[in-house]
């Protein structure tokens, strides 16, 4: 009797950008998707973090030329140019670029982008709503570096805040600040302290590891001044980190993107081109309580959850907070806008240059009426 | 037990340095209680090594040590100090950035906590008792070498040592200071302190020691009672051959003036005026000595002459041309060379022999910015050959040469360029008899060949032996000039201490 050799598993390589795993948001979410694909499709997934940008192209060529991998998943916009210069040379190698696009449609390349504005605008409404319930009038964001995905967050977040103001007849101060780093929580904390000093009631963390410092700052502010303030997380559900002060997180399902790309290779059909994921595709959004709980469970099983917490407790605390501080009218606003977006009645513009980004922001800052908000839109209008 | 126990007994000491140099071979060394014991030998004979072993600073490769009849194994000087052994090193062991008092506290604190006021009181008491004058609050780096030497001795006395090791303590002292030191040592001997005394000056050894051990190339040649030997015999034991002591000096026939210094004013590193209006003239075929206690502006004077140090006021004329403020390399090129008093200044110890041979004469070995190494090597092997520098290879780092050989290389380099005027500062400092003799006769030979030598020295023997004329410097001013016959050693000593005698200025 002869034993059949085991069916050869498809090999997939996930290539991170220079930050690599461990940012608790973007890159870790990508790996989550890869792990899920590994289980579901029984594929062999390996990963690599290149030592520097200069290494990206040579490494990409090396792996493309080896022909060993069914798919190379490239995480992050730093891969754009290396991929653009490599993809045509290896027509038999499939590539997936996550969160960026080369702008070229190729049969062997799929680019998966997110419409971050669609999530950020909902977060903006929630933030403005919470700020006012907390008795304040200022919302803020602690952002990492001035890069295209964050432009979209900036536009969406500001859009949401203005939308809230114009609908509710309030005026909300909007503070946005780039810390210049994705890795320094101490700077994140100090920026957030500064933002809270300026009256911010809600701080949106958009800076990877840096905004972990925002969470600490918010907690400390509450402890020392007795004044309740909130932080909001992004990408993964981050409520479990401090459910008393993080009532809500934005979702950016990098995991879905990676999973989708792998699925296209393993199960088909593969089709090159550009895919964007938004609210409709559930590629972005607000984490619901189930999501919050799932992440808390993950944290709990890895021993990360604070000893006094359980996943259920996290979920309960968060839903309590959401009930108390995000009023039904605010939820209505959120859902209305969400419906418009999902139905395709509203499509956000994606700025292509820094100037365009800046002009959209200044127009939004100056907006006096709902129509003024249309500068941020590609299609449709708000009313 | 009792008085018959020797103070120090070292048996079968062998020392191999990590790079394979065998510094001592099977040395037996005994010092009786209460005696002054001389330790003599050529440069590199192993005297310092033996004492470093006794002091626990380095470990012997083999051998045993007894102190007052007790077998000891020191892990470091701190152990030795606790057993009553104290060593004053050849190179000073004071922390230059600290004040004298801080150094004293440091030294005392190895025997327990030292309180500032206690140490000061004790130091002042010792100073009073034996007439040492050391400014306790001055920073060591600001003191002259002579005062530093006194600070060293004060430090040693403070340690209440029962066995005191002095490694070439007199080489920087003036005759008066040497005499004071000798008196001091006698008093210490009376107090029952055992002293080990290393020197290259046989006269001193004869004068102060009771017994002498002579080392040659790491072995004990002989142990003698001092009264039984003459200086000549000692020299012969050390070197292994006859040494002629009287260097023959032909009568001077001074020629044309080569170097003239006119009303020179120079500041020291701290910005204080160190040379105050010095003038002199140096002629061909003559040796002019600048005599003085170290630290009286000699260094500033010569550095200003060759252009290393800015001149405040005044003029330097060399061969009829003003060279005031000229860059040193240009001065050297014109034939005025300078042998500094420290080998660490005249040589780059981490460079090899060839590298060092072109240090002051780099321009001559350049062709369009490129160094002509083959020529440099030729030049350096010439120096090595002509001046008998003992060295394995031209690529050997100079750090690995013994002091005597370093000095030969340094002097050789400066002399080989066939200069007109040689400024030599302490050219024999720390050298053994043979090497000293070699350098001194070399200087005389140069003079006889028609060159001029400006000798800066604190060693009166040397000054009397070599100079045609001498100038005594005190606090930056020339106190007196004259021919050697014009002065007695006593007068000179007074002048160096700033006491003017009439008619000589």
């Amino acid at each position: 009797t002869t034993t059949r050799p085991p069916a050869k598993k498809a090999k997939i390589a996930v290539l991170f950008d220079v930050g690599g795993r461990g940012d608790l948001s973007f890159n870790d979410m990508a790996w989550l998707g890869a792990e899920k694909a590994m289980e579901d499709f029984k594929v062999d997934v390996t990963y690599l973090t290149p030592p520097s940008l200069a290494d990206m192209k040579p490494l990409l060529e090396e792996y493309a030329s080896s022909g060993e991998y069914s798919l190379l998943v490239l995480i992050g916009f730093l891969w754009t140019t290396p991929l653009n210069e490599t993809a045509d040379k290896y027509p038999d190698q499939k590539f997936a670029l996550i969160d960026a696009t080369t702008g070229v449609v190729r049969p062997n390349e799929v680019d998966i982008l997110f419409r971050e504005q669609e999530c950020a605008c909902l977060m903006g409404i929630a933030a403005a709503g919470m700020a006012h319930t907390l008795g304040g009038d200022t919302v803020a964001a602690c952002a990492g570096m001035d890069i295209p995905p964050l432009w979209k967050f900036h536009i969406g977040y500001l859009f949401g805040v203005k939308y809230y103001d114009l609908k509710m007849g309030t005026t909300t101060n909007f503070l946005w600040t780039y810390t210049g780093t994705f890795t320094d929580p101490s700077i994140g904390k100090e920026y957030t302290r500064g933002l809270l000093e300026q009256g911010a009631k809600v701080v949106y963390g958009l800076a990877g590891l840096t905004h972990l410092g925002s969470f600490e700052a918010v907690k400390e502010w509450h402890k020392t001044t007795g004044e309740l303030v909130f932080a909001m997380g992004q990408d993964a559900s981050q409520e479990w980190i401090d459910p008393e002060h993080i009532p809500i997180s934005g979702a950016k399902r990098v995991d879905v993107a990676v999973y989708t790309a792998i699925k296209m290779v393993v199960k088909g059909p593969w089709e090159g081109g550009i895919i964007t994921l938004g609210l409709k595709e559930e590629g972005v959004g607000i984490w619901d309580i189930d999501g919050v709980k799932w992440f808390a469970e993950q944290a709990s099983s890895a021993g990360r959850l604070a000893p006094e917490l359980t996943p259920d407790k996290v979920a309960d605390t968060v839903s309590q907070l959401r009930e108390t501080y995000i009023t039904p009218e605010v939820w209505d606003l959120i859902h209305d806008l969400e419906d418009d977006i999902k139905a395709g009645r509203i499509v956000f513009k994606t700025p292509m240059t820094h100037d365009e980004y800046e002009s959209i922001i200044s127009a939004l800052m100056a907006a006096q009426s709902l129509e003024d908000l249309n500068v941020a839109l590609e299609k449709g209008s708000v009313s | 037990m009792g008085g018959s126990q020797p103070a120090v007994e070292m048996r079968g000491i062998t020392k191999v340095y990590p790079d394979g140099v065998v510094a001592l071979r099977d040395v037996d060394f005994t010092v009786r209680k209460g005696e002054v014991h001389g330790l003599l030998g050529e440069n590199g004979a192993g005297k310092t090594t033996l004492m470093r072993i006794l002091y626990g600073e380095i470990e012997p490769s083999r051998g045993e040590i007894w102190i007052f009849g007790r077998r000891v194994k020191f892990r470091g000087p701190w152990d030795a100090i606790r057993q009553g052994v104290y060593m004053v090193y050849q190179q000073f062991s004071l922390v230059p950035a600290f004040t004298v008092l801080e150094n004293l506290i440091l030294a005392s604190s190895s025997m327990g906590r030292a309180k500032l006021q206690d140490v000061r009181r004790k130091a002042e008491k010792i100073e009073r008792e034996i007439g040492l004058e050391v400014p306790l609050n001055a920073r060591v780096e600001e003191l002259s070498v002579g005062v530093q030497q006194k600070a060293e001795i004060l430090k040693a006395l403070m340690s209440e040592a029962k066995i005191l090791v002095l490694d070439e303590p007199t080489s920087v002292l003036t005759p008066i200071e040497v005499r004071e030191l000798m008196k001091l040592l006698s008093r210490l001997r009376e107090m029952g302190i055992t002293i080990i005394f290393i020197t290259h000056k046989l006269r001193e050894a004869k004068e102060i020691t009771d017994r002498i051990t002579v080392l040659r190339r790491g072995r004990v040649v002989k142990v003698v009672e001092t009264r039984d030997v003459s200086q000549e015999e000692l020299a012969k034991m050390m070197v292994g051959r006859e040494i002629t002591f009287d260097i023959t000096k032909k009568a001077a026939k001074a020629g044309a003036p080569l170097l003239a210094v006119k009303d020179l004013w120079v500041r020291d590193d701290r910005g204080l005026m160190a040379v105050k209006g010095v003038s002199f003239e140096l002629r061909a075929r003559e040796i002019l000595s600048i005599v003085g206690v170290a630290g009286n502006g000699q260094r500033e004077l010569v550095e200003a002459i060759v252009g290393i140090r800015p001149v405040e006021k005044g003029e330097v004329v060399f061969s009829g041309e003003s060279i005031t403020q000229m860059p040193p390399s240009e001065v050297y090129r014109r034939g005025l060379v300078y042998i500094p008093d420290s080998r660490a200044v005249g040589l780059i110890l981490d460079f090899n022999v060839t590298d060092n041979s072109i240090l002051t004469r780099l321009k001559q070995f350049l062709s369009g910015g490129r160094i002509l190494w083959s020529e440099a090597r030729r030049y350096s092997s010439r120096i090595v050959k002509e001046f008998n520098v003992l060295v394995d290879s031209l690529r050997t780092p100079v750090r690995h040469l013994s002091g005597g050989n370093q000095q030969r290389l340094l002097v050789g380099r400066e002399v080989a360029s066939n200069p007109k005027v040689i400024i030599a500062a302490e050219p024999t400092h720390g050298l053994d008899v043979a090497a000293t003799e070699y350098i001194r006769s070399l200087l005389l030979k140069l003079r006889d060949e028609g060159k001029a030598v400006l000798l800066v020295s604190t060693d009166l023997d040397e000054v009397f032996q070599l100079s045609d004329r001498m100038a005594v410097i005190y606090e930056g001013q020339i106190m007196a000039t004259g021919r050697p016959e014009d002065f007695t050693a006593e007068e000179l000593g007074l002048l160096m201490g700033g006491v003017k005698c009439e008619a000589k200025s």
Binding site: D146, S186, K189 | P96, A97, L106, S109
Partner: protein
């Protein structure tokens, strides 16, 4: 700028001051003995890690601080054995320790919590409230430590011996100081202050351990050592000035609407420090025997 903002800036300057101050005082002690430990970052990182772990698993802050300090001490001991007894090149060893520490930090994260970036939040040192701001008790403590370090270095016998090892080790040894042991002890003492700084980072300032929690602050501490002219008291000034500029940069970038300008404001602490150094030249000089291994034979 209003008065209250200025007061705020002064208070906000304290958080970045603490690790700089402790780090540079630690380094001053080490360098005064003649050893240069360029691995400040590495010590910060490892101590931040161990104290975060202790804080997370036991909740005991005193124990967490203690373990952070001990970690610094241990790393210092290893470094000193390499750099002092084995005469390794201190700079290379320091660079190596930085690399090593980063790797160990991340490995520990994923072995302990199955993450690569950050530990979960841990219990932190409670803050005092001063003029409406949270102030860590570590701020005054670090200043007191700096003053004590000054006293130790410049007013005690042991301090004198330690400085002698950095100035003229040969002379120190001749005067009965065990130079190697003194250097070992100084490195351990200094590194344990760095360990305290590391503990501050994770269980006081940031509230968790992250893989790049030090964010180059070890190097700034190194700069502060030179800035201070090797004097712990001046180091307080240097660390505070830097912290102040950092707070000012944050204040300005929040106050100005144009977000990209934030980058330009981030240069304030560095340019400001440089200007301060250029205007007030420091009189202190490096210990004469700094980074030179003491070789006896």
């Amino acid at each position: 700028m209003e008065l209250s903002s200025i007061v705020s800036l002064f208070i906000l300057a304290l958080s970045p001051m603490v690790p700089l101050l402790l780090g540079s005082v630690g380094e001053i002690i080490i360098e005064k003995a003649g050893v240069v430990n360029i691995g400040i970052e590495g010590v910060f990182l490892l101590s931040a890690l161990t104290s975060a772990m202790v804080s997370f698993f036991t909740g005991s802050l005193p124990l967490a601080i203690f373990v952070g300090v001990i970690t610094g001490l241990g790393v210092g001991a290893i470094f000193a054995v390499i750099g002092v007894y084995l005469r390794g090149d201190q700079i290379v060893a320091g660079v190596g320790i930085n690399l090593l520490a980063y790797g160990i930090g991340v490995i520990a994260l994923f072995k302990t919590w199955n993450v690569f970036g950050a530990s979960p939040p841990v219990a932190t040192i409670p803050k005092w409230v001063v003029a409406g701001h949270g102030v860590s008790p570590m701020a005054p403590i670090s200043v007191i430590i700096a003053v004590l370090a000054w006293f130790f270095l410049f007013r005690t016998n042991t301090g004198l011996k330690l400085r002698a090892c950095g100035e003229e080790p040969r002379a120190a040894e001749a005067m009965g100081v065990n130079v190697m042991r003194m250097r070992l002890l100084a490195t351990m003492l200094g590194s344990s202050l760095m360990g305290l700084a590391g503990a501050y980072l994770s269980i006081d300032w940031v509230g968790q351990f992250t893989r790049q929690i030090t964010a180059g602050r070890g190097f700034i501490a190194l700069a502060n050592v030179a800035f201070s002219g090797w004097n712990p008291i001046t180091a307080i000034v240097g660390a505070f000035i830097f912290g102040f500029f950092e707070a000012l940069a944050i204040y300005l970038s929040i106050s100005y609407a144009q977000p990209t300008l934030g980058y330009v404001f981030r240069t304030i602490p560095y340019i400001g420090t440089l200007l301060v150094v250029m205007i007030f030249r420091s009189r202190g000089r490096a210990p004469a025997a700094l980074a030179k291994p003491y070789i006896k034979e």
